[in-house]
Symmetry: C2
Subunit: 486 residues, 2 copies
């Protein structure tokens, strides 16, 4: 089972190739690009491959078609902007206390009158709901007994086999017997932490990282220590080594490290393979338990499925956490925690926490993964998310104050935005909410106040209303986001 078939790889490569030419200004905004026929001849590729490549670029917001005339470079192509810079961090454990913020955001989450740019929710229009509902109805009708009775603690066997197959496509061989099915990736993270860190122990995290990770650590009675992570490179191994050494000296050792190498949330980058290998080597050398959050792993826009850390030599003991909440159906709450050497402990904790995951959702996901056309669906979703991310990004660049920096995500559906120095994103958050727009202020992504001039926008949706909302947030940033004006 391949995630990307050879033909799709070809058109993606071609698109990347054309994009390089656009970036290099070989083709400038407004220029006509080579005709489909020309490009097909010069590259030795089929007409349909070239058309697919142009359509991908169109979806990504780089080119526009003109009737009877061909494809042109868009005029409002995104300007080159700086990516957000890393922040100054204290490398000491700090309690994560954002309860008020999280509660206020949660309360705004379900409301139809509020534009939802705060939580990393998939676009419901992209989810294969019709197909899932047909599967669900059939399963419920055909075998009520197995749908509604207790299943095994680690989860349905068929589902675990399907998960193992997906992980194989991400480069790692895992046995279904290493997998515990969980209530989403969040429960998987809680189990992984509790299975590998002594109570009260220290867990290193990337900074910034999504609040679920920090909540899982602090809920479990552990403490977090933040290490800067950089787009394109990943966690700063020098800073991590310093923290590890200091822990050894003081007797307050770091037990585990949680990272998100494929589409880091909120930064959106993928660690290069060499950086992944270096991280695995580091963990082996320093006896650090790596916990990998791979929840966006299937949503890298272009190219092959990126590898998980377990695929690298020395990565056998990495605990891998993920779910289908970003791809298939968040409401089914199906995730997994995969561990070779801590499996028994993870299973034991799952049993003590919630006995087992509900049966029917497991059967639905198992059936969809085996027969539902998951790969085909993913291709469509990746393309669409790439396109809407490009649009949100363009709008931010157009409408936010000068000096704003935006991330350049290679997958997923969030954008990390650094506002000009002195802008307080919690003020922007409050004023946006008053204008019925929910965004995620930078404080959500750290126990420290290091990201108080950052914010995260969800990019999974695109509509005139979304565009207007982003422009409204930009306006708020220009007008009132400055601390001094309050």
């Amino acid at each position: 089972m391949a995630i990307v078939d050879p033909s799709s790889r070809l058109y993606e490569k071609l698109a990347a190739n054309v994009r390089e030419q656009i970036d290099a200004r070989t083709f400038r905004p407004g220029d006509r690009l080579p005709s489909v026929r020309e490009l097909s001849r010069s590259k030795g590729m089929s007409i349909s491959t070239v058309l697919d490549a142009y359509r991908l670029l169109e979806d990504q917001g780089f080119v526009i078609p003109r009737a009877q005339s061909g494809f042109y470079v868009r005029m409002n192509i995104r300007r080159k902007t700086e990516e957000p810079s890393p922040s100054n961090l204290q490398s000491i454990p700090i309690p994560f206390d954002r309860n008020e913020l999280i509660e206020a955001m949660s309360a705004a989450m379900g409301r139809d009158d509020i534009v939802q740019l705060g939580f990393a929710l998939p676009n419901p229009d992209l989810l294969p709901q019709e197909r899932i509902s047909r599967i669900a109805a059939r399963l419920a009708r055909e075998n009520p007994e197995s749908c509604f009775s207790y299943g095994p603690v680690p989860g349905n066997r068929g589902l675990r086999e399907q998960i193992a197959q997906r992980i194989f496509a991400a480069g790692a061989s895992v046995s279904p017997d290493e997998i515990v099915v969980t209530s989403g990736c969040q429960e998987a993270l809680c189990l992984a932490i509790q299975a590998s860190v002594p109570r009260g122990g220290l867990v290193a995290v990337e900074s910034p990282c999504h609040s679920g990770i920090l909540q899982a650590i602090h809920l479990s009675g552990m403490r977090s220590i933040e290490i800067a992570t950089m787009a394109g490179a990943g966690i700063d191994l020098l800073a991590l080594e310093e923290a590890v050494m200091q822990g050894k000296q003081t007797g307050d050792q770091i037990s585990a490290l949680i990272v998100c190498p494929n589409v880091q949330n909120p930064l959106g980058f993928v660690m290069p393979d060499e950086a992944k290998q270096a991280l695995v080597d580091f963990a082996v050398d320093h006896h650090l338990q790596i916990i990998e959050d791979d929840v966006y792993g299937d949503l890298v826009f272009e190219g092959n499925r990126q590898k998980v850390l377990r695929a690298f030599p020395g990565g056998e003991n990495v605990i891998l956490c993920s779910s289908i909440s970003k791809t298939l159906a968040p409401g089914l709450r199906i995730g997994w925690c995969i561990s070779r050497n801590r499996f028994s402990e993870v299973r034991r904790l799952k049993y003590a926490l919630s006995v087992s995951s509900p049966t029917l959702p497991q059967l639905i996901v198992s059936e969809f993964l085996s027969n539902g056309g998951y790969d085909q669906y993913l291709r469509r979703a990746r393309k669409a998310y790439g396109a809407s991310l490009a649009r949100v990004s363009d709008t931010v660049i157009r409408s936010f104050p000068p000096g704003t920096r935006v991330s350049r995500p290679v997958g997923g559906f969030v954008l990390w935005v650094e506002l000009p120095a002195g802008t307080d994103s919690s003020v922007v958050y409050s004023r946006s909410l008053a204008a019925k727009i929910l965004i995620a202020p930078g404080n959500l992504f750290s126990a420290q106040d290091a990201y108080s001039s950052y914010l995260r926008l969800t990019t999974s949706f695109w509509s005139p209303r979304i565009e207007a909302s982003i422009m409204a947030v930009g306006h708020i940033c220009r007008m009132g986001g400055n601390r001094k004006t309050l």
Copy 2:
């Protein structure tokens, strides 16, 4: 919405009345009972009420019908046996470390070749699976969007309203806004403990109690202290007071108390209303947070729905945990944690632990509770569980060694058995498992070894194979359960 309608109460009262006469030897084994017509006349009740009463007694194993002749007292009526005695307990916190046992039992749980008398599983033949499956299929077909997307963190509103209605029938007025829907009662207990006890804190429990409670405490990083509980009376308030006082003196205070007043697991009793009120008063006086496990509350065999502690004056802050796993469908994993004063904390923990419960199972349960004939279904289930419990109990009394004591549960589907002194139930457990019969040894119900001559049997099923298996366990107790023979 009444749990028991007036007519059913009448026949149950009559059955209880006849049973008293049998217990008092007014009618002896083999005696013919008054004819249906006679009894109808003398009691001023309808023929059908009397027939229902006799059929209930038949189901409970007290009488048998003979064609053309009427109802007779069964020859093998259960002998009067002593109930199990409380055990000597240490009132100090002791780590609960039964992981090996729990894993071995879990591994045996799913196996078809093993007779399942170890876990408190409902009888699948009694579950309304067909009706649930029809509801599930219809919901999935008709509104895929709401079935598979994230719902609110505390759960679906309609479901929470239905739960509040059920609690109202148990004597307490709770608002849907106090309810967090959980992954079964187990997650509810974990949330309740973490919301009300400081990390490392002390939680008092009934002894014996089911292992889920002890696991939830120790998984959460808290410690348990065991207080003897007695059939018919509940937790020993004098012993509890002593422990509370000692905690105050040593500075290691008890923060919370977990009890199971309606159908205690494993003892099967219901606390009388006066004892419930006394317990609530005690908790108020001593600033103890009560956490109530009411998972069997709907499965009391006879009479009205027993009250939950929140129904008593002073009980407003009791945290109430329950689920539909014992009544409707364990595999849906739908439970709830209800708290007036700790709601925000419970909701926060739920979010950090698993974001929210899966949507489709919530909708299924909500629909069943509002339109599925839950009360009617419960009446049938209670009757059937009462009958199979009586049969298991009879078989134990007939086939276990002299000196065996059995509990007299008034609801649920487990039987607590005290073997003659010197019998080691972990040996009985191992030998039974070798004979492909899974039972729960007493050690599962305490962190101490106080119940090493006790065991628990599941009574939800009845068949010749179950009967033979119970007799086989009895044989093992007679032959090899003695510590000295090993």
